[in-house]
Subunit: 288 residues, 4 copies
Amino acid sequence: MKYRTDMAEELHGSNKKACEKSGGIESSLYSEDGVRISRIRVVSKEGEEAIGKPQGTYVTLSVGEDWPSDGTQVLSLSRMIAKNLRPLLPPEGEILVAGLGNRFITPDSLGPAVADKIIVTRHLMGEPFFSGFRSVCAINAGVLGCTGVETAEIIKGVCSRVKPAAVIAIDSLASLSTDRLCRSFQISDTGIVPGAGAYNARRALDRQTLGVPVIALGVPTVVDAETIVSDALKTAGADGRPRISSGLLVTPKDIDALIQKSAKALSYGINMAIHGDMSVSDIEQFLG
Amino acid sequence: MKYRTDMAEELHGSNKKACEKSGGIESSLYSEDGVRISRIRVVSKEGEEAIGKPQGTYVTLSVGEDWPSDGTQVLSLSRMIAKNLRPLLPPEGEILVAGLGNRFITPDSLGPAVADKIIVTRHLMGEPFFSGFRSVCAINAGVLGCTGVETAEIIKGVCSRVKPAAVIAIDSLASLSTDRLCRSFQISDTGIVPGAGAYNARRALDRQTLGVPVIALGVPTVVDAETIVSDALKTAGADGRPRISSGLLVTPKDIDALIQKSAKALSYGINMAIHGDMSVSDIEQFLG
Amino acid sequence: MKYRTDMAEELHGSNKKACEKSGGIESSLYSEDGVRISRIRVVSKEGEEAIGKPQGTYVTLSVGEDWPSDGTQVLSLSRMIAKNLRPLLPPEGEILVAGLGNRFITPDSLGPAVADKIIVTRHLMGEPFFSGFRSVCAINAGVLGCTGVETAEIIKGVCSRVKPAAVIAIDSLASLSTDRLCRSFQISDTGIVPGAGAYNARRALDRQTLGVPVIALGVPTVVDAETIVSDALKTAGADGRPRISSGLLVTPKDIDALIQKSAKALSYGINMAIHGDMSVSDIEQFLG
Amino acid sequence: MKYRTDMAEELHGSNKKACEKSGGIESSLYSEDGVRISRIRVVSKEGEEAIGKPQGTYVTLSVGEDWPSDGTQVLSLSRMIAKNLRPLLPPEGEILVAGLGNRFITPDSLGPAVADKIIVTRHLMGEPFFSGFRSVCAINAGVLGCTGVETAEIIKGVCSRVKPAAVIAIDSLASLSTDRLCRSFQISDTGIVPGAGAYNARRALDRQTLGVPVIALGVPTVVDAETIVSDALKTAGADGRPRISSGLLVTPKDIDALIQKSAKALSYGINMAIHGDMSVSDIEQFLG
């Protein structure tokens, strides 16, 4: 019985033996400035099968329970996100940032919240003031239930006009552990399947479908109620799959505020990865 | 081991023997127009102790799983809320409607959402057009964490100026069952303890503290993760209290939309109970 | 000296002689159910130059001052919008509804508010329940300042994937008269230049650029302060262009509520034009 | 013919002779760190009549056109607000911050936006961590049209429970000049009449009605269309009062963003005046 997660670090943890045996997974775990950093590389077909994620690199930055209450830690985390994101971007060319998810459903609103905070410059590239900036554009791709169109189709369409060198896609993720909610930041170069964690998988956003590298950034905002219940049963030594309605999510009470906080850290990190190191005050100034 | 609920019907169900033995609880359960109606009267000190709720009447209207997708059912439910609320109101005098809870925390936003949709008339009572209306005012009392003041203090202060004949207080509730989320409507004449369900009990809003009848209306919007897990353990025959961080809530994915829907039903019902039967179109017109 | 307006009826009114002389403009004006209906057809190159609008049909429905306070009038207006919109749609094929404008700038938020209320069905066309519906999808195209991409480019990209039979584009308009704010509804088959009224014209959305018919729906939400001042000077017999900073807009105090109201009328109208006559309750039910 | 303004500096400017003659007005104007500071003291009954404002001190801080785009200037302005506000507060005792205005009407939303950003501590005064803080509470008083109760009544009621040493009331103001919109910050120790600028004067919030000092903070967010038109007529040498519907406001296009920006400056300033100098990062941390 497998439960829903989008986190490579969790999949690695719960399939450790298979991953080792496959010989196709490299992993490391260390700490830097109070942030726990997990790096997992899936390097072969066998590794893919063992971990259940496509080949590529997955970096996860995790912070402790009290991080959201400390302003300076947001900036230090943003810098670490920038540092880990920058090497995955092509050295030059347009970047398209795509926010995935539904602005009006709290645990699904991370993508739009981040895309709203990207310093877009594509239409300003001629202006001398912006000569030090990289060309960036950003869209909120909407969700199938509101647009009637697969997210991947919308982004493909926009790519056909904008012709970016890379796409950065931001999405809310599912996790196995409530300890990770709004506190883990996963960066990968493997693209993303929108809504994958939510069991309503749509066509993938990756190099194969979009023709350019797709860097996926995500933060877990939900744990399935089923996961929690199953864990409790396992711990109690009880058998059987939990009987609980599907579609129920476990969230902390202050999820609205936590999502704003992690969207801030993520958007600062992306802006710094693309445009170079900046102060928070400078970033906020550009966003008006 | 008791889990958190604000629903009299649930407390009655889980303490059935004690309730019967106390001789202080009267209850009935029936259906009307597809709505399940539970009526519980706590009539003695012994009844209070058995059920864990103060003396008075608790009416709970519950609808089925698919109700939110049917527009006409909202109106029919609103009429039933009005019918059950009306007898609890004093025959004349000012009504103060108080929305409890935090507008910016989704599962706590029911009170403000309802208070925003009340047709207030207190300042218009001299105008001939409003001669058929009852005098009503409405406030959003805020929450302690945002105001620094107990909700009960704010409402007491406003009552000292407005001198209402009764207060209607609206709050989000906790339930033991995810089946009830945004689908049960509890009406009681016993007042309310803001945040009681959330284990951060503040001073009560009731006839004793406010000096006038306090009618409480509530809809469950959260189930504690602890409750869910404990249920699963019990079902599996496992022992022990669940080990899970407190402060975690279980909600359906579409909680944002469901709260809007139940706020609509509740506000329509309150408006009709106070001002007399009206069409939805008339209500919406007054709300601008 | 010409002031900013997107309304064909106003351009016709202020260029009456030239329009008549051109022989390229047909116009009529009548009333129906309390709604004033203006129809203007621009039929030749000479007509285009005289009125300053491309060839095609412009229907403007205008309601009186008190309309927003009357619920039934919203429905009757929506029916009239549907009746005038339906003949402009191709008999079959996918419809793409595109909301133009910025959700976070009140007078520019009409397009997103309408697009949010479209019953999208493209992804549900296989389901028996939706057999009576037409295939529709909807996007919020964003604005250049937030995306870095011309609105026309985004819509072209989406059209290249969705291949609609027609596009319906919704935008906030500029008017010469504060009497029209949120009370005139312009429907035309000529496409639209996003932000044209705002002097920041972008590439056009029309049959030529998108390859399919583009029906434009708009409601005036702003009057330039320059227009108001110039009118006053003219009336007073004073000469000279007004000296007033550009970028200042005149709006009624309750613009937030009025935009919601006109977005409702417009979205109901579009849904009924596409999917057939429906009750408001049915429409609201589908929008969840 | 007088037009609507809440700004003492403007009333002084347009009644200069009468003010001088009255002998009851002291005024000074100077610059500090790029901020223009006007100080006006109304010291006698004659002064009151000449300027049309009650006796007391009015300090107005005004910044230049480009201020909103510069992050550090927000902080420097906040510090200056704090410096001018601090001497008006009583040396000890509870402070009640009251946001006036309607959260859902953009140009009236300044008060709620500021009250949302106050670090409230009244309920935390026992905790050692907060030993360095002053006791503060905050409410959003709502508006008559939504509550049915005069704002002054609500605040009086809350004061009767909270018993503050002083009230700080924040409101949107009207100005005669579009150059001041979201760029002037008026601080006075004379209290406020909610909605005064809007011609719907309600009972005053001042020392006489509340029994404690009332410090009023305000930022102009609207200019009446009538004012603009009248100015243009005067400049053109034309006679007569402008014929224009009342209730029309002139605002910059980006009013939504500008109000957020000025609410930030104002709330930072209030927090620093009350709790002592703090970094923006510390303030944001406390607001979660």
